[in-house]
């Protein structure tokens, strides 16, 4: 059945093109060759201006980027910093903090280690003898914080240690906060306070970028923190209109043609253009569908990568781009664990129990059920199905007049056996414990929950209350009409 496929050596030119194209899709080409999408142009300019002001002109700035997930906040910042580091390599250091990984406490250590590391790189790997000034990240937390503050506050960075340094200018420290809202929590906000304070008062130029997804980020900030913040909030632009979206998709798909030796680029770009703007092409429909539902470039890109990588040569790339079958099957694959797909993958008995569950839930006032009730419903249902099934059939044979006894009844499984089915429905998430809190938001909450013995675990198996994830109406739409249990999908 599975004949080994012959692996053909790839045309090396095409291989290079494919690699180039993949890198373009992942935006991992060298910074000179990547271009942010044009709809981001103004934001890009803004960030560029801010960064240049603080790196070149040594001003202090703070601003917050607000935008939903996947709106290229980090990408833009990284791109801009990569561009600037080519030109002004010695002028700045970057410190990255992530609200998920750093807490208020560990962020201080995080800053110190990165500061130390970056300064070491900047000063050309020279191991300066350990003294109090260079060894920032050692010591207790308060010491470290003191040191950082002193360092940043008093411009000791390039001044005192590097007397032989010809440049007398200060080094800009660029802070990038991801998930800034986690630092702007309910208590104290010390870190943000100190950093924003630095923007106002320190002699070291500090540039702070906070990235967040919360539109009301200013309401998170305390009064004293807010007053130190420059009030500059950059809202990430959204793609407006389908025309703009499709143009952006074209940008995403078309690598810059400036590259030499890649003779496919031109032909590819025109192919992409033709296909995208032809309203009847599969690609156009796919993009339209994405625009109407997700409106997400990343989602589209994920689907395009198997398409691009799966091509053996340029012809097949062209063909598969025209049909888009790979992207379609990627999108289809994402739905194969949806509730509808799960219901279709159930065995007869499992489906039957699920229907019984939905029936008992619908009957109950509090929309919950337990194993006992479901089994009683199941018993009743099978009995009433079996009552309607004829068990006798006249023989076609004329000589023999005794009717043939047919055993085409539905098997009524024992309560003990149904328990297995019940548990597999549980593990497939068709049932959830009544008023259960599934995943806790933070590690602390998960810890508290693990120390608490819930009532549901102490009571007997068949008395536990469950809620159903599918309603009977929902089941009726998914269960095929040909199914024996279809009539039971309504009360």
């Amino acid at each position: 059945k599975f004949s080994p496929r012959k692996v053909q050596p790839l045309d090396s030119d095409f291989k290079r093109f494919k690699h180039f194209l993949m890198r373009h899709l992942y935006q991992s080409l060298p910074p000179g060759q990547t271009k942010p999408y044009s709809y981001l142009h103004e934001t890009h300019q803004e960030i560029d201006r801010l960064l240049k002001q603080s790196i070149v002109q040594k001003e202090s700035h703070s601003s917050i980027l607000v935008g939903p997930r996947g709106s290229f906040k980090t990408v833009l910042l990284n791109h801009e910093l990569a561009l600037l580091s080519e030109k002004y390599h010695q002028q700045f250091i970057t410190i990255r903090l992530n609200g998920f990984i750093h807490s208020e406490q560990t962020a201080i250590n995080g800053i110190a280690t990165q500061l130390e590391e970056q300064l070491r790189k900047l000063h050309g790997q020279i191991k300066t003898p350990i003294n109090e000034n260079t060894d920032i990240s050692s010591g207790s937390l308060t010491e470290v914080f003191e040191k950082i503050l002193r360092l940043l506050d008093s411009a000791a960075v390039s001044g005192s240690q590097n007397k032989n340094d010809t440049e007398s200018t200060k080094i800009t420290v660029v802070f990038i906060f991801d998930e800034m809202d986690t630092f702007a929590g309910a208590v104290r906000q010390t870190l943000l306070y100190n950093l924003f304070d630095m923007v106002e008062h320190a002699r070291v130029p500090v540039c702070i970028f906070g990235c967040t997804t919360k539109l009301n980020i200013l309401e998170y900030l305390e009064k004293r923190v807010k007053s130190r913040f420059s009030q500059r909030i950059i809202y990430m632009p959204q793609i407006e209109g389908f025309q703009r979206f499709i143009e952006t998709v074209e940008e995403m798909l078309c690598p810059p043609s400036c590259d030499d030796g890649l003779n496919f680029v031109k032909s590819w770009n025109s192919l992409v253009h033709d296909e995208l703007f032809n309203p009847n092409s599969d690609m156009h429909l796919l993009v339209k569908f994405n625009y109407d539902t997700f409106k997400s470039l990343q989602h589209l890109r994920n689907g395009l990568i198997p398409l691009v990588f799966g091509a053996k040569d340029y012809e097949s790339l062209k063909n598969s781009f025209k049909t888009c079958s790979k992207t379609k099957s990627y999108n289809q694959n994402l739905l194969e664990s949806s509730i509808a797909a799960k219901i279709k993958s159930l065995s007869n008995l499992e489906l039957c129990i699920l229907i019984c569950t939905a029936r008992t839930v619908l009957k109950a006032k509090d929309e919950s059920t337990n194993f006992n009730l479901v089994y009683a419903e199941y018993e009743e249902m099978i009995k009433s199905i079996n009552r309607k099934i004829p068990t006798m059939a006249p023989t076609k044979n004329n000589e023999d007049t005794t009717p043939v006894i047919l055993d085409n009844k539905i098997k009524l499984w024992k309560k003990r056996d149904i328990k297995n089915v019940w548990e597999s429905l549980l593990s497939l998430n068709f049932l959830t414990e009544k008023s259960a809190i599934g995943l806790r938001e933070s590690a602390i909450a998960a810890f508290y929950a693990s120390n608490y013995q819930f009532q549901g675990t102490t009571i007997p198996f068949d008395l536990r209350r469950y809620q159903s994830q599918v309603t009977l109406q929902g089941l009726r739409r998914i269960v095929p009409r040909s199914s024996m249990y279809y009539p039971w999908t309504q009360l």
Binding site: M22, F100, I305, S337, E350, L463
Partner: protein
């Protein structure tokens, strides 16, 4: 690609998609890749085969289920990556970092940064190291923030490093992934197998093993079935697998491991039924081995009712070896939990009335739902003792009308033993109270309820010849 399709069935799309996402070159590999599939959909197997075929991809495996909380998890990440790099580049003199120092998420970042930096001069081109978190959502103390920590690790590790970490997560629960859907991580779904696919997979994985099993060999030698070729043995095994799936598919669903268990349980019995006549006659063999396809026998207790077993022996084995007082207490508790207190007097009252007064009428109408299906309701301990006294049999030793009978109680009193048994029932978790922690039994606020299902109570009552069913017939 071609090799792996021979080893993994029905996962062509998944393999192809995996191979388009996973490369040695970090520039064209996404930092995070999610693989979703419910249990026994071949996630781990496919991924293992994928890395076995593409052996040039550096990969390390972790099973979060063994690591329980996030801290050991992160330490294991640090340890396993360091060990792997050491074993691959053993000529590099790299300082050892202690993975146990990783006590915070940011220390993991620091650890990895330091670690990768040691290999900076060694490599020409950047390469990927793949960390497979096999069953990320099976970590016991999982919380919603942990996955965010892992997927943003790559943003904090320097991009200039020659070794780049790429993480692959296998996750069972789709609801977990849907929490993070706005991050648009590349996702490969492993759907559940269909019944036909399962038959093929089981034949592919098990048939040969069954043919070579010791039991079959012995049976063949004993029965002197010498006119069989290996092909025929194989068809016996394949036939058995098909029969098992047909018989038990609705019971197991599309779960390969459960079916595998059933194959293991029943193969021996099946082989025992083989003889010279029926080895070539699948239908005959099925008929002679019909018993094993009718019940699942999926229980470790030997006492479930079977036709072959004599009835008397069955009754002798009781579910619990409790004292008679405990048994009656349990029955009384069950009655208290499931009968309403307002009908108690009509059910239990037997005294002839000295004073005048009406007796309770009892329930007028049948209840709609059998209350035994629902959770037990709570009662006070006094009610339990009253019902206990009403149902506990006491045989009077003294003669009727004698002086001794005046001294003797006709009813059971709540003596020390009763309370001892009551406390023991509670510590055996057969009775439960309303509050769990630091419970004060002497407090009047404490209410009780029974914590055993109907099946056990009816068995217990049978063992003391008490018909508990009669109290519930009017309502069922």
């Amino acid at each position: 690609m071609s090799e792996i399709n021979d080893l993994v069935l029905f996962r062509d799309y998944q393999i192809e998609t995996l191979s388009s996402f996973l490369h040695a070159d970090p520039k064209i590999t996404p930092p995070n890749l999610v693989i979703q599939g419910y249990s026994s959909t071949g996630k781990t197997h496919t991924l293992q085969q994928f890395f076995a075929v593409n052996h040039f991809l550096i990969n390390v495996w972790l099973e979060p289920i063994e690591l329980v909380t996030w801290k050991p998890f992160m330490q294991a990440v640090a340890r396993i990556i360091q060990n792997k790099l050491k074993s691959i580049f053993h000529n590099v003199k790299a300082p050892d970092y202690d993975p146990l120092d990783v006590e915070e998420p940011y220390l993991l970042v620091k650890f990895l940064n330091n670690l990768f930096e040691n290999y900076q001069s060694l490599l020409q081109d950047p390469i990927c190291i793949f960390l497979v978190c096999d069953g990320f959502d099976s970590l016991q103390d999982l919380d919603a923030a942990l996955f965010h920590k892992f997927i943003s690790l790559h943003e904090l590790i320097s991009v200039d490093l020659k070794i780049q970490l790429r993480i692959i997560y296998t996750i069972q629960d789709m609801a977990f992934i849907e929490r993070y859907s706005s991050l648009c991580l590349p996702l490969v779904v492993f759907p559940r197998y269909t019944m036909d696919q399962i038959v093929d997979i089981l034949i592919f994985t098990r048939a040969q093993e069954l043919v070579e099993s010791e039991i079959l060999r012995e049976k063949v030698l004993q029965g002197q079935i010498d006119e069989c070729s290996d092909d025929e043995f194989l068809s016996v095994a394949i036939n058995f697998i098909k029969l098992i799936v047909q018989a038990f598919h609705s019971y197991t669903g599309n779960n390969i491991s459960t079916l595998n268990d059933l194959i293991d349980f029943k193969w021996e019995n099946y082989v025992n039924k083989i003889n010279r006549q029926n080895i070539f006659d699948p239908l005959g063999l099925y008929r002679s081995a019909i018993a094993i396809f009718l019940t699942t026998d999926d229980s470790l207790n030997a006492d479930f009712p079977e036709n072959s077993q004599p009835k008397s022996e069955n009754e002798a084995t009781q579910t619990y070896e409790l004292s008679p007082i405990s048994k009656y207490l349990l029955i009384a508790a069950y009655i208290c939990s499931y009968l309403e207190p307002r009908y108690d007097s009509s059910v239990f009252s037997r005294k002839s009335h000295v004073k005048t007064g009406r007796v309770s009428y009892g329930r007028r109408k049948k209840m709609e739902i059998n209350p035994r299906y629902l959770q037990p309701s709570i009662f006070s301990v006094e009610r339990l003792l009253a019902v206990f006294q009403a149902i506990f049999p006491i045989d009077t030793k003294a003669q009727r009308g004698s002086l001794a009978s005046l001294k003797e109680d006709s009813l059971m009193r709540a003596n020390v033993e009763v309370f001892q048994n009551l406390a023991e029932l509670h510590s055996l978790k057969l009775l439960a109270t309303t509050v769990g922690k630091n419970i004060d039994f002497l407090n009047y606020k404490v209410k009780w309820k029974v914590n055993v299902p109907w099946e056990i109570v009816s068995e217990v009552s049978k063992s003391v010849n008490f018909d508990v069913g009669q109290y519930f017939t009017g309502e069922g």
